[in-house]
């Protein structure tokens, strides 16, 4: 069994309103030096296979078809032992 992790982040040129708000709040809390806060999603799942290549392919398809929105988001795939 493998654990697939897909990390979805907004593309660099898309304004990250949420990231901005969090950055403001962090500065307010005294973390003044923090810059470029960006917020994304992490999707984890268990895949009942040992074949890492097959898993990677599947995860890529899932990301492209559903988990990331190609208009505004990029994604990264990571595979670990479950």
């Amino acid at each position: 069994m493998l654990k697939g992790v897909i990390t979805v982040m907004l593309q660099p040129n898309v304004l990250d309103v949420q990231g901005q708000a969090v950055q403001g709040a962090l500065k307010h809390l005294g973390f003044e030096s923090v810059e470029k806060v960006r917020i994304g999603r992490q999707i984890e799942m268990i895949l009942p296979t040992e074949d890492r290549e097959a898993a990677r392919l599947q995860l890529r398809e899932m990301a492209e078809q559903l988990l990331a929105n190609p208009v505004i988001e990029d994604f990264q795939i990571d595979i670990q032992e479950a």
């Binding site: 040129n13 304004l15 309103v17 708000a21 559903l66 929105n69 505004i72």
Partner: protein, 223 residues
Amino acid sequence: MHCAVLVFPGSNCDVDLYKAILQIKGATAEYVWHTDTDLDRFDVLLIPGGFTYGDYLRPGALAGVSPVIASVKKAANSGKLVLGICNGFQILIEAGLLPGALLPNQSLQFICDVVPVKVVQSKSPFTSSYNHGDLLRLPIAHGSGNYYCDEVTHQELESNGQIAFSFPPENNPNGSLAGITGLLNEQRNVLGMMPHPERAVKQWLGSTDGLRLFQSMLEHHTA
């Protein structure tokens, strides 16, 4: 004009839309459950607002990959009218029937209000009863209605006349790019919009400005 009101798990403006359609003489409506993929009997497809699949992941994303959407795409390609309101707009965008993306509101809060909305394109099957520049009063109620697209797409939308509605610059409640809040496809038979015309159909609801949108569709159909 026989209209399908598509119902997904989590749709919640389906009844409002259905009731609004029945106010138009000459229009009939029928609810269609999302697993029903045979849409041939309908002249018009309506995707109501709500929180399909709880808006989980991204608003409209999970509904955008559901089986009925393939039939909606087919119908759209064949020239049938398709209207998505609020969550319906988000679904059309996620399904790739309209360009761009709908991001969280700039305030990061859900906004419910009645706001001025400008008619930018009156030459479409949905907007022909309005005049270019009309300022409508329409309800909005959404958390992710902040329209975004890249510069190139924006240019295309402008030059093709695909922008149907926009918020006036001094009153842009959600931060949408150029105030865009209603969008046509290139063929102008698909419209997605964040404001709720179906909530502006009775005097006691505060506005009747939404009625003319449905009337336009009827006129287009009977023409």
